[in-house]
């Protein structure tokens, strides 16, 4: 047994499985994107081609993150986070607006969404912060990292981008819980949250755009007004439900093809997939995601050090949060908050960020054997 360990294994069956899973999910995503958009003018190039281009860029990021020792990467955490904050600030003043929100930075023919990069930067910063020294007491454990997160969160909410904001908070909370919070501190936090909720709610609700408020209201009763506020939720449910067990086949989704389903290639791509591939297809996709997350958690649990473990946990929590909330909103279990389905939804920034994060995960896994180089 021991002789295996003496071998330096740069690439093993785990990595193969891992990369295979990612490629499978990406492939299904590209098919669905093509199915929604094949009869549409996609600007410079068809959407699926553009997505393939994002994927190749993402593959580059994936490789870089895989190879680059995460310890040295972590040393760049603060500068990276500062850069992201600057980008977010830039977006606020100079960004390109779409649907009432300013989220994009135009760069040549393409636009980037810094809020996507911000999530990964936050993970790096938090992992770096907690692993640098034993953070004891609720000031060090909760308040300081909370203050670290706050500027990013506020800038994102200001855009406003409710979905990214929520995943920001989710990443923070999960990492905090994994580091461990004394039950007392947790209690204080909960108490404060409850006490502050009405004030925060007032502020949050007031800062929301009309369409966001409508979406939240629609979540409460989507069938109330099919033509209006609950439209997305209802059409999405109809698309998914009408796929039945075996689906309508690729390009066969009527909800999709007749444009009943808005944003079919981005936030609602899961509904498109579910309509065309049915419950069986959905089951396969879910299984792929669960396996990917499972393997990622495996990496977290076997990480060599706390930095690696926290990086892995942060990435897994970001990934799973997005998967769960995205699917949850398309099936009507959550309000529609605008979170893409990782690796499946069309979008450059999100695809590149997710793939980079997954590369970083493999990096963490790879370094656990680094002693034997």
């Amino acid at each position: 047994m021991m002789d295996q360990l003496t071998e330096v294994r740069r690439f093993d069956s785990f990595d193969l499985r891992y990369v295979g899973l990612i490629l499978a999910i990406l492939g299904l995503g590209v098919l669905s994107i093509h199915s929604v958009t094949y009869d549409q003018q996609g600007g410079v190039a068809p959407y699926y081609l553009k997505q393939l281009m994002w994927i190749s860029l993402g593959a580059g990021a994936f490789l870089v993150m895989w190879v680059w020792d995460y310890h040295s990467l972590a040393r760049l955490a603060y500068p990276a986070y500062a850069l992201v904050l600057l980008m977010l600030l830039f977006v606020l003043f100079e960004g390109r607006a779409s649907k009432g929100a300013q989220r994009w930075i135009a760069l040549g023919p393409f636009s980037f969404q810094p809020s996507e990069f911000a999530k990964l930067a936050l993970i790096l910063v938090l992992a770096h912060y907690y692993s640098k020294a034993p953070r004891r007491g609720w000031l060090q454990r909760v308040i300081l990292p909370g203050l670290l997160m706050l500027p990013g969160l506020l800038l994102i909410l200001k855009q406003p981008d409710l979905g990214s904001g929520l995943s920001f908070v989710a990443v923070f909370v999960v990492m905090l819980l994994m580091v461990g919070v004394r039950s007392q501190a947790l209690g204080v936090m909960l108490l404060f949250s409850v006490m502050l909720f009405p004030f925060v709610w007032e502020g949050v609700w007031g800062s929301l755009h009309d369409y966001q408020r409508q979406r939240i209201m629609a979540f409460i009763n989507p069938d109330y007004d099919p033509g209006g506020k609950g439209y997305h939720a209802l059409q999405s449910k109809i698309a998914i439900g009408s796929g039945e067990l075996t689906g309508k086949g690729l390009f066969g989704g009527t909800q999709t093809q007749l444009k009943f389903l808005p944003e079919g290639h981005t936030d609602f791509v899961f509904a498109v997939y579910a309509e065309e591939w049915g419950f069986l297809g959905v089951f396969v996709l879910l299984a792929l995601f669960v396996t990917l997350i499972w393997l990622s958690l495996e990496i977290a649990s076997k990480a060599k050090d706390q930095l690696g473990a926290l990086l892995a946990v942060g990435i897994v929590s970001m990934l799973s949060f997005c998967v769960v909330v995205n699917i949850g909103m398309t099936v009507g279990m959550f309000p529609i908050v605008g979170i893409p389905l990782p690796l499946v939804s069309y979008g450059g920034s999100a695809t590149i960020t997710t793939m980079a994060s997954l590369g970083l995960l493999l990096n963490v896994k790879r370094r656990r054997l680094s002693l034997f180089y």
Binding site: M1, M2, Q4, L5, S131, A133, V174, M178, G180, P226, G227, G228, Y231, Q235, K237, I238, A239, I240, G241, S242, G243, E244, L245, T254, Q255, L258, K259, F260, L261, P262, A274, G278, F279, V282, F283, L286, F289, V290, I293, W294, L297, A300, S301, K302, K304, D305, Q306, A309, V313, V316, S317, S320, V324, I327, G328, V331, M333, R368, L369, L371
Partner: protein, 635 residues
Amino acid sequence: MVGIEVQNVGDRMASGNYAENESDDFHRRLMVLRVGLLLVVALLSLRLWHLQVWDGAYYLDLSKNNRTRQVLLEPARGLIYDRNGVLLANNVPSFSLYVTLDEVKDREQLIGQLSDLLDLDPVLIRKKLTAKGGKSLPRKIKDRMTLHDAVLIESHRLELSGVMVQVESQRNYPGGGMAAHLLGYVGEISADQLERPEFSGLHQGSVVGQYGIEKFFDRHVRGQAGQKNVEVDAHGNEKREVVVEHPQAGNDLYLTIDVRLQKVAEDLLGSESGAIVALDPTNGDIWAMASRPGFDPNVLSRELTPKQWGEIVQDEGHPLTNRASQGQYPPGSTFKVPMAVAALESETMAQYSTVSCNGGYQFGNRIYRDWKAVGHGAVALHDALVHSCDVYFYTIGQRMGIDVMAEYGKEFGLGQDTGIELPSERSGIMPSTVWKQKAKNTAWLPGETISAAIGQGYVTVTPLQMASLIGTVANNGVSYRPRLVHAVMDRTTGNLQELLTVPRGKIKAKPETFRIVKDALADVVTKGTATRAKSSLVTIAGKTGTAQVAALQTGPEESIPKKFRDHAWFVAFAPVESPKIAVVVLSEHMGHGGAAAAPLAKELIETFIKLNLSAPAATPGDPTAKPARQASEPL
């Protein structure tokens, strides 16, 4: 794997700040995370199973309705022609406004917009939008829109989601009010009608016949609606049209009416209330059937406001009543025709037996007066008919009794429907002892027999019944059911189906009896009460009648308010030798039949003779020859 596990622990112990107990805590928390994640995924899967497998069929259905908007294609109603192929009812294009509820964003707002743009009553629009029916099916809000309104709606299309303007065929009657009671009119199907089986397959907004032939033959003329599915996207943009079923035009009807005669008949009545019926005694074909006052079916086929309806319904002239088939009047002396047949056949009175008339007939302590106060002296049947002697008929009526009268009356079709193809025909009353017991729950009084003998009292008839009756006499007792439609053209096959005449039987009477009665009726015109009907063109036989409206009327006619004046009757046929036409004229409140009704009948008969001498469609000797199927020409 085991080796790696061991090594990992070693790794962690080697890295100083990652203490073992903290690592254990971390693994415990990781476990919680895993369990939590699995739970959430399980929940999502359950939800997806529920959506896709459990309720999948339901959502599939929704998605199908989603993609298509079903638009009904209204069929063109069958055309209606007269016997010579003159067009009486056709269809013209018109604009209709539809609203599809599914695509409406704000119903109240839309109601406001539409009522502003088109000046419609918002209550009416709301009523139509809330009526029962599918949400994806367009509902008709307004028809016969003006071009201006249609353009107005089209130019506001973007603000009016769910609204569409459709070109449809609209019923049109080129002759305006001509033959209105016969043709009837069409209208949107009512909520009550929708429930009834004969209207199954129709839907809110369907147009059906509401009166006249349009109603009676609705099933033939209606046609069958088609359907097209319009694929629309979420914005209501039409993407593609698929015709699922082409609409099937209704069948064309060929009437027995000759519009030229119909026009003359209507003009003869003019502004007076009354009815004229002319039919062919040899087969029952109706040549003309006029009723006054009338209406314009073009107006009634449009959507009327409750106020407009109220005005029509409350009109004292009852313009919607077809007086020919629905007006019930005492026959007066025209009833003496069947009475004469009954007297001879029941052998109540022989042909030459006389009755002495001194101007009155005493029964009990009451005297029944003759219209001629000085009396007619000794009269036999012939003179009794020619001069319309009341006392003669009091006498025979009294002798035969009401039940024998009723028996012969029924032979001639009195007290029962003629079976004409018009809705809501009335049957009049041919009283009998049994009838009175049933209807009034009292016994028949002998004095009532005497009134009945001259067509007063309980006896009532419709002009159509009298036309059929005099036609039967003219045709020596052989009668046919009066009919209005002689052929139906199936639009799908192009086959013209001639309908058969319907014989109604033969009155069991000797030919001699009819000869005697017809001789007398001919003399009524040549030297009796109807000399004003004498024609130089053709021999005419007939019988006048004056139906009492109010029992008490004394003094000169001019002093009596018009609504209490007598109705004038004249029943006739011509030519006497071989009758081709039977005519009935009823003029309400116009006094004596000989003066007010007989000249009209003469005019009509002369027109008929002139037309059928010159028209190739009906050569003399064969007036019932197949009518020429000319190209339809609007009137």
